[in-house]
């Protein structure tokens, strides 16, 4: 069955290995994966900043690029949230496009959601040696309900022990352009997140969104923590974290 992988712009630019890990997970689950070559950005930066026109143009492209796919899988809660929760709002006053947006929204899944709900993975072949904690990204958690799925999958990774940190559902302070408009507040929020990660005793924080990843990793290293690893759930599940 054809599954389209929406890589997302941040994975494409900043951490291509996460895209490859997602690809591997989907192929291992037996899917034929297509990665439309012309894909770029879902339009979320513009949408959240009030540029409806720009967001609309990009949303329209995503809809047409994935029209042929039975499912669309996204290794990011916030980009999946953009497609699922906000594309229908983008096209609220255009009935024909709205119908297409809704059809796409109904077929779009965040990666761990897809692996648990559609692919129904009973086992995960990856191993991981050590304790990790999971940071819930805001959009994934509150826009599309990603909470139990990554934890279910991580529980199947041999050798991995999950400990919950305090306030795992509290925003890390990224917030898209917020992180460069209000850098000091954003850093102060990231600092609280890092303190909670440290207090959990985990040797890695696992998460499902690139924005949080860059924010938390940047703050951890700045506060002098060179050892706590920041890992995307796709890499942990695909077993591509060693090195």
């Amino acid at each position: 069955m054809r599954v389209g992988l929406f890589v997302t712009c941040l994975v494409d630019l900043m951490r291509p290995s996460i895209g490859l890990a997602a690809l591997k997970l989907l192929e291992d689950a037996g899917y034929e994966v297509t990665v439309p070559a012309a894909q770029t950005c879902c339009g979320q930066p513009g949408w959240n900043s009030g540029d409806r026109k720009g967001a609309r143009a990009l949303a329209e492209r995503v809809i047409s690029q994935f029209e042929e796919c039975r499912y669309v899988v996204v290794p990011s809660g916030s980009c999946a949230g953009m497609i699922r929760a906000h594309f229908p709002e983008v096209f609220a006053s255009e009935p024909a496009m709205l119908a297409k947006a809704r059809r796409l929204a109904a077929r779009t899944y965040e990666l761990t959601e897809f692996l648990t709900k559609i692919a129904k993975r009973a086992s995960v072949s990856a191993t991981f040696d050590g304790t990790v904690t999971y940071h819930d990204s805001c959009s994934g958690l509150r826009e599309i309900g990603v909470k139990a799925q990554p934890r279910q999958l991580l529980a199947k990774v041999a050798g991995l022990k999950l400990v919950e940190m305090e306030e795992c559902e509290t925003c890390c302070g990224f917030g898209g352009t917020f992180s460069i408009k209000y850098g000091d507040i954003s850093s102060a929020m990231a600092e609280k997140k890092c303190a909670n990660i440290e207090a959990s005793g985990a040797r890695a924080v696992v998460l499902g969104d690139l924005g949080c990843m860059l924010n938390i990793e940047g703050r951890l290293r700045r506060r002098g923590d060179a050892k706590t690893r920041v890992l995307h759930v796709a890499e942990v599940l695909a077993g591509t974290t060693e090195g």
């Binding site: 494409d12 290995s17 959009s139 990224f174 992180s179 600092e191 703050r219």
Partner: protein
């Protein structure tokens, strides 16, 4: 001064930060969570839906319910006055003081009186206003505005209050809370007995009975509304509810969302002045119902904001509010609800930074007892700013440039390939960028992690499809790849 400058000061204020940490660790969010667990999370969800529906029903026919309220209140002997603006509300209040020869007014908590600047208007007309809510009383002594809508003095520590009381009460310094509270009660008792006017806010207005309601914990509200010979309830027109039954639903939501209480210590309904059979109550009862920008929201895309029942849950759960406190928001209402209300009431152009002072994390709307989609409203305000040309041109140009480029995949691939290499170069040996071009705000408090591979996903994927590199070798940690990146 804008949100950014004020929040910068708040972040640098060690005392405030300590008080905010204390608020967070001992505060309302845990109490609310307990109350919701006790009530039953599913039932509470249902209740939220009912609360939102009641508020929508009230707002959809607000004019009719206000007319009904006026008729019922007048029938029971109260006077109902409508003020279109904040200034008009003050004029009406000053006129009431003049008519009744008022020299001293006691107040229980009223956010609308903060909005309208009632205390300043009274003082300018020879009337002494005395705040009797303990938090507001502390702030009146300190000469500061509230920093939270239900815990107005949460930015003050016990020691701050002890200092204030020592300076103003002319009594030996106390440092335990029960004795400080007792001292404040003793000071306030005199004012309760000597005031000519009591001014209260109104949590709700009940149309079917013409009653006002206040929901309080200290008991001062009941004295303010019953002891002086004149009682004025000043509140916003949007507070009207059709029935007492509606009120009982919202009361369940309000106290649990605000302080985690099943019900507040006092719930006071006031219906008209003292009757012939009544042993207490004011001789005159006046409602001043204020618009001050509210009708502008009715029927528009911001109407959902008028559902607000002023519980404070959105700010309690807001990580930005918890980092910078309420004064950073600059006007009467802080936190997410304030970031929507302030631009709506004082003008979009006068609060440019507030709609952006949020990460859109959604914690507020999940906690909101009447399901106001606060992140969505903030986003709409951002859109209005762009549409009205109120954003800095560089920001708009950057967004447009991104959208323009992202619609041209070849150009995008080229531009991102260059950007990735440049960022990787900036990252140096440890892969951390200490000073990001055009992103200095980011790197002031953090590093910016550089791309781990010098190539984009799209180029790696294209290489794989050309059969150049098996995908299993494409992990960024593979030595082969690393060698290529260094070339």
């Amino acid at each position: 001064m804008h949100f950014k400058a004020r929040s910068g000061e708040a972040l640098a204020d060690a005392t405030l930060q300590a008080n905010l940490r204390k608020f967070q660790s001992t505060g309302f969010t845990a109490l609310r969570a307990n109350a919701v667990a006790e009530f039953g999370p599913e039932l509470f969800e249902k209740l939220r839906g009912e609360g939102a529906a009641i508020r929508d029903r009230s707002l959809d026919s607000m004019d009719a319910w206000l007319e009904r309220f006026e008729a019922e209140a007048v029938r029971r002997g109260a006077t109902v006055l409508f003020a279109e603006t904040r200034a008009e509300a003050c004029e009406l209040l000053v006129e009431i003081c003049r008519r009744h020869g008022v020299r001293k007014a006691i107040k229980s908590k009223s956010m609308l009186s903060e909005e309208a600047g009632v205390n300043e208007a009274l003082a300018a007309n020879g009337v002494t206003p005395i705040e009797t809510d303990l938090g507001e009383y502390i702030l009146q002594l300190a000469g500061e505005p509230p920093s939270h809508i239900i815990a107005p003095a949460l930015h003050k520590s016990k020691e701050d209050v002890a200092d204030l009381f020592e300076a103003h009460h002319h009594a030996p310094r106390k440092d335990d809370i029960p004795r400080m509270t007792r001292e404040a009660r003793e000071m306030l008792r005199e004012h309760f007995l000597s005031a000519d006017l009591g001014i209260s806010g109104g949590n709700f207005l009940i149309a079917e009975t013409g009653s006002g309601v206040i929901v309080t914990n200290e008991g001062n509200g009941r004295m303010v509304t019953t002891l002086p010979r004149v009682h004025v309830c000043i509140t916003g027109i949007e507070k009207v509810l059709p029935t007492l039954e509606d009120f009982s639903t919202l009361l369940r939501l309000l106290t649990r969302s605000a302080t985690g209480q099943a019900i507040s210590n006092y719930v006071s309904l006031f219906t008209g002045p003292r009757g012939r059979q009544d042993r207490d109550g004011p001789e005159h009862m006046v409602f001043i119902l204020v618009d001050a920008g509210r009708t502008n929201l009715v029927g528009g895309d911001m109407q959902e904001m008028l559902r607000c029942i002023r519980c404070g849950a959105c700010m309690n759960h807001c990580p930005v509010y918890r980092a910078v406190g309420g004064h950073s928001y600059g006007w009467v209402y802080p936190g997410p609800m304030g970031s929507v209300l302030t631009p709506s009431y004082v003008g979009l152009e006068n609060a440019l930074d507030l709609p952006h002072a949020a990460t859109l994390c959604g914690a507020c709307s999940v906690a909101c007892p009447v399901k106001i989609p606060l992140p969505e409203l903030l986003r709409k305000l951002r859109e209005k700013q762009v549409d009205r040309g109120l954003r800095p041109w560089r920001e708009v140009a950057a967004l447009r440039l991104w959208a323009w480029t992202a619609q041209r995949p070849r150009l995008y691939a080229l531009a991102t390939a260059i950007a990735v290499r440049f960022l990787r170069f900036l990252g140096g040996r440890d892969g951390m960028i200490g000073m990001l071009p055009f992103g200095g705000e980011w790197t002031r408090g953090r590093f910016f992690p550089a791309p781990k591979s010098g190539r984009t996903f799209r180029s790696l994927y294209a290489a794989r499809n050309r059969g150049q590199t098996p995908v299993s070798l494409l992990s960024h940690n593979q030595p082969a790849l690393r060698k290529r990146n260094q070339r």
